[in-house]
């Protein structure tokens, strides 16, 4: 509701009048402030209108409440009256006693930049008339100065509805040139500089330009011929519509967006593990562009899709934006609480920075340690935004919708029925076997199973059925049907201290996992009472799906060589035993057989009698949390005070409390077996269906209850300032920036308000920044040439009225990006020729006024895609998991070795590669593919020898050259000249002229067609788009 209010703040009225010239740095004086207490008073008005802006602009940079140079604060009436280190600053009607005047009139202040005479006069008049204040406090952000932006900064003012300008001295020619309103804005600026625009380019060039621009792919030769021959006046418009409707469009434009949002598919930092489900966000962006999702909805979903549409998997996926940056998994796990807090603050800075730069063009992140040095953003406001995003956490988020949930529930119910049937079928046999087993155990010597000193079979809650280590539950731990149930979150179980020293020992457990893709959970651990030292049966802590011999700091741990991947434990109990010898040898067993290679550790751990205990479900420690928790069930666990032999372990396994499946099967009838097989097959099929539904995940926001947000003094997490609640930045419009939330509001409310505040037509930056981005990609340079920064350090708009016109159009067309793009690419400005003209080059070498079209060098992805297209090898599969152009290996960190994989699966468009942060491609990097860890609003375009070497020699390029040659030959072009013609058509979409044929045909005859295609790929005509 609040967003429909009209602005009444006089700041904006003031801005309306002057915003278009504010950025030139000329200060023209301020309008009356609505907040002023006594505007009726002549002196007060003089102060507010003339003196306060002067002080703000010239003095407050140093003499403010925080910096107080020379002990003087001129930002507030009482403080100013108190004077500074060298005495009174301002004494009414007494210039001689007023230090301010003395310093200013001597040109001592402001240092190096003495005041101009007219400003001195203002100051003099003010002091002589009594140095009366109007407002008691001068807001240092109120006016822009030579050093910083204030509230009156151009980009913070509401959008202007400027009339489309008519050219001053409209010659018939320029009027004929113009095709839509954009062109009138362009012409006006050109005419002011005495320049004229360039005429429209020929049709072949135009379709090539448009095709690369909208699709990132070359047109086919046939398309070019057809378009060149199409005499319809609407031919170009039809072409534009056709291309905008192509699914290739989304693939092209999503890549631009991924640059801006620092999209990477690995964690970065030390480990750089791959994020297997990050691609869903990439697909979401492609689809959003293809479906022309309105830009405001596009933004809202990325900020709060999971909150706004919790039942929509796509909306949840969209929040991948917030967590597209790196994640310091090691830093989050370290023991030091203080350092973990720093890591979390660094993470929030990344997220707040991405939100601010992407949607607002403001470098909000620069206000983490102090008020923004250049833009009107308070440090407090930075923390308000971190509060708004305080519930955001990185993670794999299940994409679950209510229908999916219902489906899973149904499947699980049917699965349980099937299991019941099997249990009923087996029950009589099982009972008989148990009876026999117990008889065996009682009759001493009749079994070779060794005797532990403690056993928990969980039939009698957590009692130790042999010794006195009766355990107690923590968190959600409970027993059920003779098993200990562990939820992987809070559940664990501890025993009282063990009175034995355990220089050698054996740990064993029958355990079933809730799912196989977990890592680091402890089954059974012996640990010192403080949880610091431990030996434990751990699942997959260091090697995915492989059991780990857990120990403190991996002291007695080695990767188990040649251990097979666990593929059973999520469906049935497995028996795991670890044998610790007094000399440090360690052996691991699974289901009674050696598991991985035995090894010698630095052990044994020196547990003290009475100083250690047993823990279940938690790798080690005294509180639940982290990756140490096991999700699964334990049927039985036993601990021995000696190292068992291999035979003893096998015997213990064989004498399992759970009967060996083979023993049961042996006693079933043939028909019972068939019946059971059928049920089992049905269970497997159910499991697969459930897993498919459950495993649908996206790397996205996995929200947690936000912590209390404080202003952190100097950005230091140890120096807590005031508590703040989620709010926006008031310089974008005070009445809209108040979210009206309590400091402990839930995450959902915070992000909902944040999304509403950002993606609003009242937000002056939201539409401007995106309109500028779109323009930037079409022309190579934005109207503001720093698309992520509309603040003081950013560029000033070359065509401010045009920018607002485009932003207004974006809003008026229901935030349709395609409408905006249609307008842009159908303008005459877009269709200009590239040729240089001496006068224009002299007056505007940078072409900021757009008197011609700048040739563009292809981006790295476009280059690779274009080679695939020319070679006829492009696999047009839309979306889905990415291809990997690397081999990966893990040595604590994940490493990526780049390769050139062959096959259609790898011949997809480059946007579908796996964008890992440390797996960068030589070829793509040579063509300025950005570091995926950094937000890249505009790419560099460099020319280097390494780049030339890459394009000449890279395996992929040569392979594509060979494929293009094969394609041409298969197209029945037999003699060299015909082949040259065919290659020109594919690569340049034109026929060669006579001179070109004369040069190329003999080359093909002598050196072969692949060598020729290689040179074509290296040529400037291929690489540059006119």
């Amino acid at each position: 509701m609040r967003y429909s209010m009209r602005r009444t703040d006089s700041r904006f009225l003031f801005g309306c009048l002057f915003w278009s010239i504010a950025w030139t740095g000329v200060w023209l004086g301020a309008g009356p402030s609505a907040g002023a207490a006594e505007t009726s008073n002549e002196d007060a008005r003089f102060f507010n209108e003339s003196v306060a802006p002067l002080l703000a602009r010239r003095c407050l940079g140093c003499h403010n409440a925080t910096e107080k140079e020379g002990g003087l604060d001129l930002s507030e009436q009482t403080a100013a009256a108190a004077g500074g280190d060298s005495g009174p600053a301002l004494v009414g009607q007494d210039l001689g006693e007023s230090n301010v005047w003395q310093r200013v009139s001597d040109d001592e202040m402001p240092p190096k930049h003495p005041l101009p005479q007219d400003e001195k006069e203002i100051l003099k008049r003010w002091i002589l008339s009594g140095a009366v204040w109007g407002d008691q406090r001068i807001d240092p952000f109120r006016w822009s100065t030579a050093d910083r932006a204030g509230y009156d900064w151009w980009s913070l003012q509401p959008l202007q509805h400027a009339a489309t300008p008519a050219p001053d001295k409209a010659s018939e020619e320029t009027l004929r040139w113009a095709r839509n309103p954009i062109d009138h804005f362009i012409i006006r600026k050109l005419q002011h500089r005495g320049l004229a625009p360039s005429p429209e380019v020929d049709r072949r060039t135009l379709i090539r330009r448009l095709s690369f621009d909208l699709l990132g792919l070359p047109p086919t030769y046939e398309d070019v011929e057809q378009f060149a021959a199409d005499r319809s006046p609407q031919a170009y418009e039809r072409l534009v519509d056709r291309l905008l409707a192509s699914p290739r469009y989304g693939e092209r434009w999503a890549r631009h967006w991924l640059d801006v949002v620092r999209f990477g598919e690995s964690q970065g930092f030390e480990r750089d593990q791959i994020r297997p489900n990050a691609w869903r966000y990439r697909d979401w962006v492609i689809q959003a562009f293809n479906h022309d999702l309105p830009y405001d909805a596009f933004a809202r979903r990325q900020l709060a899709g999971d909150v706004l549409q919790p039942n929509d998997a796509d909306a949840i996926t969209a929040t991948g934006f917030l967590v597209a940056g790196p994640y310091d998994s090691v830093g989050q796990m370290q023991q030091s609480v203080a350092m973990r807090a720093v890591v979390r603050q660094d993470e929030l800075e990344d997220i707040v920075g991405a939100v601010g730069q992407t949607f607002l063009g403001l470098t909000v992140n620069c206000a983490r340690c102090h008020d923004h040095k250049f833009d009107p953003i308070l440090q407090k406001e930075y923390y308000q935004l971190t509060a708004a995003l305080g519930g955001v956490r990185h993670g794999e988020r299940p994409l679950m919708t209510p229908p999916m949930r219902e489906q899973i529930a149904k499947l699980e119910q049917r699965r349980a029925e099937l299991q019941n049937r099997i249990a009923n079928l087996e029950q009589p046999v099982l009972a008989a076997l148990r009876r026999e087993h117990e008889t065996d155990e009682r009759g001493s010597g009749s079994t070779s199973a060794p005797r532990p000193f403690a056993r928990w079979d969980f039939n009698n809650d957590l009692q130790d059925s042999i010794g006195k280590l009766h355990a107690s539950a923590r968190g959600a731990a409970k027993t059920e049907n003779g098993r200990l149930i562990l939820d992987g979150k809070t559940a664990f179980v501890v025993t009282p201290p063990i009175e034995k020293p355990l220089p050698s020992k054996t740990l064993e457990a029958w355990v079933q996992l809730a799912y196989l893709e977990q890592s680091g959970g402890g089954v059974l651990s012996v640990q010192s009472l403080d949880g610091q030292m431990f030996d434990a049966i751990v699942y997959a802590e260091r090697q995915s799906r492989i059991w780990t011999v857990g120990s403190d700091g991996f002291r007695r741990t080695k990767d188990l060589q040649a251990a097979s991947n666990e593929d059973l434990a999520d469906r049935q109990l497995v028996h795991i035993a670890i044998v610790y010898h007094a000399d440090g040898r360690i052996e691991c067993y699974r289901n009674g057989r050696p598991y991985g290679a035995a090894y010698k550790s630095n052990g044994p751990a020196g547990f003290q009698p009475g100083g250690a205990q047993i823990v279940f479900g938690l790798r080690h420690g005294t509180v639940a949390g982290g990756n140490r928790m096991l999700a699964g069930q334990i049927d039985r666990a036993q601990v021995y005070d000696r190292a068992l032999s291999a035979e003893e372990v096998a015997a213990s396994f064989a004498a399992s409390p759970f009967i060996l499946p083979s023993n049961i099967t042996a006693r079933l009838s043939a028909s019972q077996r068939t019946q059971r097989d059928n049920w089992r097959a049905a269970i497997v099929s159910h499991d697969q269906q459930i897993a498919r539904l459950r495993n649908r995940k996206a790397y996205a926001v996995t929200p947690r209850a936000p912590e209390t947000t404080h202003v952190l003094l100097r950005g230091n997490p140890a120096s807590l300032g005031d508590v703040v609640s989620a709010n926006g930045i008031s310089s974008l419009g005070a009445e809209h920036s108040d979210f009206q939330l309590p400091a402990d509001a839930p995450d959902a409310a915070r992000r909902r308000e944040l999304a509403a505040w950002i993606a609003s037509p009242h937000n002056p930056l939201f539409a401007r920044v995106m309109a500028n981005r779109i323009w930037h990609y079409h022309f190579g340079v934005g109207i503001v040439d720093t698309p992520n920064d509309f603040g003081f350090n950013g560029g000033r708009p070359s065509h401010p009225e045009l920018l607002d016109f485009l932003a207004n159009r974006l809003i008026a067309n229901d935030w349709s990006l395609k409408c905006l793009q249609r307008l842009i690419v159908t303008s005459a400005a877009y269709r200009q020729q590239t040729g240089g003209r001496p006068l224009a080059l002299k007056r505007d070498a940078q072409n900021r006024l757009l008197w011609r079209r700048e040739p563009h060098r292809m981006e790295a992805e476009t280059l690779r895609d274009a080679m695939l297209a020319v070679a006829g090898m492009l696999n047009q599969q839309l979306g889905g998991p990415p291809y990997q152009d690397f081999k990966t290996s893990t040595f604590n960190s994940q490493f990526y070795e780049m390769i050139d994989p062959v096959g259609p699966a790898f011949h997809r468009r480059t946007i579908y590669r796996t964008w890992v942060r440390s797996g960068r491609s030589t070829l793509l990097d040579a063509f300025d593919c950005p570091d995926p860890s950094t937000m890249t609003p505009n790419r560099a375009v460099t020319t280097t020898p390494v780049q030339s070497l890459s394009l000449l020699n890279n395996a992929f390029v040569l392979r594509m050259a060979a494929a293009a040659a094969t394609r041409v030959k298969a197209g029945a072009a037999e003699d060299a000249a015909a082949q040259v013609v065919a290659v020109f058509r594919l690569a340049y979409q034109r026929r060669p002229d006579e001179a070109e044929l004369r040069a190329a045909a003999p080359f093909v005859e002598q050196h072969g067609l692949p060598a020729f295609c290689r040179i074509v790929f290296n040529s400037n005509e291929f690489l540059f788009i006119d």
Binding site: Q334, T834, T942, N953, H1007
Partner: protein, 485 residues
């Protein structure tokens, strides 16, 4: 992970490609072509930064950085703490609440290596580095470094970029951007990883960050093709290569003629000539076999223990000699088991003994060699690790363990060469080597000093990125004038 294996795989992949024509490497032909044009002269590679380099007269023209991964123990190497001998096996008051990475504070442990005063300067160096000790008079040790984090990778980022996060340019990238190189035949910023594997985070460690990709570190391998894509991935005959170049130039010139005055198009034509020069220069510089046997022996190429790092040091010296601006050498790879870096949580003697044994002689050889060639006068040598280690062991509170945890509060680095005061130690830690207390030095100060010696005012080496003129030194950094001559 394993560089050698990577190179072999690379070669194997190549053989699988169809062969286009008869044998012969392209580079040879290109060079011949250039020789005819008289274009093989090396020329400087211009910097990209707007502020012209140098900002002031300075001795250093280039630098080499030996980057130790994992954390070198200062109290076992360059920061002599005799009091630890007295306190061996004792608790130390005031550090019970120390906030260390793995949260375990064991008993104090003395150095496992004897300390001695060395050379004429009398600089303290332990027996961990017996060869370096012999050239101690060349070293300028800073004993009062501190870091902002004791987490390896953010600390390594800060050591190399000034920031704890991903996405910032590394020192080498900044120098390439700000200084260019003395030659256009080689990349300005070259990286030589440890032969056992890449550091954690791989190429993130030599990223260009937000600078253009040109400034990214180029990895040079000691086997196979020294750099990626130097020669065609399939065989191309010399005549074909030569004819291809002529045809490419013909096509490009014709294209340019219709678009006169376009700098980008002309630059690309020129870049193919530079590429050919690189094809000649890189294999030449990488050819360590050209060094005399005694030189190879000096660097320890004849011994198993020192062979890898000796090779890297020798290659680095050859690169510096040819005009590379910044060579970064890694000692140590990623964190894992078995350990292949300096992260001695378990056992100092085993770990540091092994790691130092790999690099000690080659490093001393590098300093000696640079000195003999007169290159130490204008080459800056940097020897750092991301943080130090605790003076107490990482163990239960009443146990004297064998390993040490990470220590961000105080640690030692050294510099040598160009314009520094040699044979001196700067700053100090407290009596047990736990915290820097005297003349504390942050990485920003270290970077500012390095830049100063290279003729760069650290406040003027800037690049605009998303709202701010970024610097290697963020908004901080004081030049350590006391260590400069």
């Amino acid at each position: 992970m394993n560089m050698h294996r990577a190179a072999e795989n690379h070669l194997k992949t190549r053989r699988d490609f169809l062969s286009w024509s008869s044998a012969g490497l392209g580079g040879v032909a290109l060079t011949a072509l250039l020789m005819q044009d008289g274009q093989v002269q090396a020329a400087p590679l211009p910097p990209e930064a707007a502020d012209p380099w140098p900002h002031h007269a300075a001795p250093a023209k280039r630098a080499i950085h030996i980057c130790l991964c994992g954390g070198l123990s200062q109290v076992d190497s360059f920061d002599y703490k005799p009091v630890l001998e007295k306190y061996q096996g004792k608790k130390f008051g005031g550090i019970e609440s120390a906030d260390v990475f793995f949260g375990q504070i064991g008993l104090l442990r003395k150095s496992d290596w004897a300390f001695r005063q060395r050379g004429q300067s009398g600089l303290w160096v332990s027996d961990l580095f017996p060869h370096l000790a012999k050239v101690a008079d060349e070293l300028t040790v800073i004993k009062s470094m501190y870091a902002e984090t004791s987490n390896h990778t953010p600390a390594t980022f800060q050591q190399n970029t000034g920031f704890r996060l991903n996405g910032f340019p590394t020192t080498g990238a900044w120098l390439s951007y700000g200084m260019g190189a003395e030659t256009d035949e080689l990349p300005a910023f070259v990286v030589i990883p440890d032969a056992r594997g890449l550091p954690a985070g791989g190429s993130i460690n030599w990223s260009n960050g937000f600078l253009s990709a040109t400034h990214q570190g180029v990895v040079i391998r000691s086997k196979g093709d020294p750099i990626d894509d130097l020669f065609p991935a399939v065989k191309i005959s010399a005549t074909t290569e030569q004819a291809s170049r002529v045809l490419l130039e013909t096509l490009n010139r014709k294209h340019l003629a219709a678009r006169s005055g376009n700098d980008a198009l002309a630059a690309r034509i020129k870049s193919y000539q530079l590429a050919a020069k690189m094809q000649l220069a890189v294999p030449e510089v990488a050819s360590i076999a050209d060094e005399t046997e005694s030189m190879q022996k000096l660097y320890g190429l004849d011994q198993d223990q020192t062979h890898d790092f000796g090779r890297s040091c020798l290659l680095a010296r050859r690169l510096l000699e040819k005009g590379v601006r910044f060579v970064q050498l890694f000692s140590g790879g990623a964190f894992g088991s078995p350990r292949i870096n300096w992260d001695a949580h378990e056992n100092m003697v085993q770990n540091h003994g092994r790691e130092a044994g790999r690099i000690d002689q080659p490093l001393a050889a590098l300093l000696t060699d640079l000195r003999q060639r007169g290159m130490l006068d204008d080459t800056l040598v940097l020897f750092t690790s991301e943080f130090g280690r605790t003076p107490f062991t990482q163990s239960a509170s009443d146990v004297l363990g064998a390993g040490r945890d990470h220590n961000q509060n105080g640690f030692s680095v050294w510099l040598a060469g160009a314009g520094l005061k040699p044979g001196m130690a700067y700053g100090a830690t407290d009596e047990i080597g736990w915290k820097a207390v005297e003349k504390r030095v942050h990485w920003h100060d270290f970077h500012a000093t390095v830049l100063q010696q290279l003729g760069i005012d650290h406040t003027r080496l800037t690049a605009y990125h998303n709202g701010i003129q970024r610097r290697l030194t963020n908004v901080h950094g004081e030049v350590l004038s006391e260590i400069i001559r």
